[in-house]
């Protein structure tokens, strides 16, 4: 199996911090706010590996740091510490040492991101097809007909009627907007896809269809994915392995069925018990 991502000791702290920030926050203190200096330790000491074709779940409540970790990897935020290495086409990229242009190349071409809110992932001023075109144009595809063909095939794959590709995203339902977002994220066949609470807020039947689509994509194209969610159902259905986070720390990690059937940490046990 090929490793796609190696994350070690990733930390993100807001504001300057003090020497005891990391010592006095976390699940043992029931807080991610440093009592001495008031800094927020959003994530600390997050480490994991991700392999090709694998879906890793990051589970936690809001404020657990699960989204922060992903945002740092996607360069939406700057980490305070730690390293992350992305292995792609025979090269190893130290993510936090890259310059802005190199970061943007990865974001535009080698990473995909699907946000909870379609407004974050889609440009609502342009058509669904235009959104896909944007990502292709960032990757230097400059043939109009080829862009159209690619958009049609991506939208077909995500079950959006290609006849609707020239419509504005605002004309679509929430589930359809998510599908367009997924199509856009897949435009460049990225080997790594981030999914941040992608089904939260959708109707149950729509949720199931989206999860289904995500699994299908993973099976067909062997895309490695990181799925961030607070929903145990999503984890159960999608993730091979799961990290459980609380107050910025990883408190438990394991195979997903093991996390759900034999959770080790008190918090995970409570979480699983309350969900069943």
């Amino acid at each position: 199996m090929d490793r796609v991502l190696k994350v070690r000791n990733l930390s993100k702290r807001y504001s300057k911090g003090c020497p005891v920030c990391y010592l006095k926050t976390g699940p043992d203190f029931d807080s991610n706010i440093c009592p001495d200096c008031g800094s927020v330790v959003a994530a600390h000491d997050v480490s994991f590996d991700l392999y090709a074709g694998e879906i890793l779940g990051i589970m936690g409540e809001s404020g657990s740091g699960k989204s922060t970790a992903v945002k740092c990897l996607y360069f939406d935020q700057e980490p305070t510490g730690g390293t992350a290495t992305f292995y792609d086409q025979g090269e190893a990229f130290k993510l936090f040492e890259l310059n802005k242009a190199e970061q943007r190349r990865l974001v535009n071409q080698r990473f995909g991101m699907v946000y909870q809110n379609p407004h974050q992932g889609l440009n609502f001023e342009i058509s669904a097809g235009g959104n896909i075109a944007e990502r292709l144009l960032m990757s230097d595809v400059d043939n109009y007909d080829r862009i159209r063909q690619r958009a049609v095939s991506l939208l077909t794959r995500t079950e959006v009627l290609p006849e609707r590709m020239d419509e504005m995203p605002k004309n679509f339902s929430g589930g359809m907007q998510q599908r367009v977002q997924i199509a856009k994220s897949l435009a460049t066949n990225p080997p790594l896809l981030f999914l941040d609470e992608v089904t939260t807020g959708l109707d149950l039947s729509v949720q199931a269809a989206i999860l289904d689509l995500i699994l299908e994509i993973q099976q067909q194209s062997h895309t490695a994915m990181i799925v961030v969610t607070h929903d145990l159902g999503v984890i159960r259905l999608l993730a091979d392995r799961t990290l459980v986070m609380k107050y910025g720390r990883v408190i438990e990690t394991g195979l997903t069925d093991q996390i759900l059937e034999d959770p080790q940490h008190a918090y995970t046990q409570r979480l699983v018990a309350s969900a069943l």
């Binding site: 199996m1 590996d49 392999y51 694998e54 199931a208 269809a209 999860l211 289904d212 699994l215 099976q219 259905l237 091979d240 392995r241 990690t253 394991g254 195979l255 069925d257 093991q258 059937e261 034999d262 080790q264 940490h265 008190a266 046990q269 409570r270 018990a273």
Partner: protein, 241 residues
């Protein structure tokens, strides 16, 4: 028999530490067993003896509390399943070890034949090829053809059980874990399953199984391992830890 067992379990224990209730629940205690290629080892014992917990420990759905679960992989290497890296376990689940439980888990919209084909697809077989093999397996399981294209969501317990078995058997695992595979099946279908198990033995598959009918154990088991229920200590967590 001079042949080496492909799975050698020594001193397997499993207990659950429930932090919230400050309790330790014992499940399996000091289990030793061996499983050989082309042979079936049956786990017997009263309810609560921790039979399922042994299977789940081997599959790593449970984290073993103690003991060695030595497995000889296809590449000849010995692995302690209790301690192996998660990625290695995932690879073994994909390529070598299958687990048929009493419960079927499937995606909401997936057709039955695709549910069965899934282990093959995960191993990289082309979808159409995988589907064809899945259909053969469903036919061997006497599943009515009209059900192949629809989701198992509306199926009866017996039908689901057959889908589950078909999925576990389709990819011809090296080690097959069976947890009451015939629990909701009628006699006729049970016979079918026995036939399939015999066939798998001939093909060299190693099996570890729990059956709820003692007569089935007599029919298919080459070895029988009897488990005794663990002694309930009901000791507070502090003493154990």
């Amino acid at each position: 028999m001079t042949e080496q067992a492909i799975l050698r379990v020594e001193g397997y224990c499993k207990q659950f530490v429930l932090h919230e209730q400050l309790k330790v629940i014992p499940s399996s205690h000091n289990v030793d067993l061996e499983v050989f290629s082309g042979s079936l080892t049956a786990l017997v014992g009263p309810t609560g003896a921790g039979k399922s917990s042994v299977l789940k420990g081997i599959y790593r759905t449970y984290l073993p509390s103690a003991g060695c679960l030595n497995y000889t992989a296809a590449d000849g290497r010995d692995i302690d399943l209790a301690k192996a890296d998660e990625h290695r376990i995932l690879q073994l689940r994909r390529d070598e070890i299958a687990f048929v439980t009493q419960f079927l888990r499937f995606l909401p919209r997936q057709a039955t034949e695709d549910v069965v084909a899934q282990p093959l697809v995960q191993r990289g077989r082309p979808l159409e090829e995988a589907r064809a093999l899945a259909r053969d397996m469903l036919a061997a399981m006497n599943m009515p053809r009209r059900l192949w294209g629809i989701s198992p969501a509306t199926f009866s317990g017996g039908e689901r059980q057959r889908v589950n078995l078909a999925r576990g058997l389709v990819a011809k695992p090296r080690l097959l874990l069976l947890d009451e595979p015939t629990a909701s099946l009628d006699l006729k279908t049970s016979d079918l399953v026995v036939g399939l198990i015999e066939k798998l033995k001939q093909e060299g598959v190693a099996m570890l199984a729990i059956f709820h009918q003692p007569e089935l154990v007599k029919r298919v088991a080459d070895r029988v391992v009897e488990l005794k229920p663990p002694i309930m200590t009901d000791s507070p967590l502090e003493e154990i830890a």
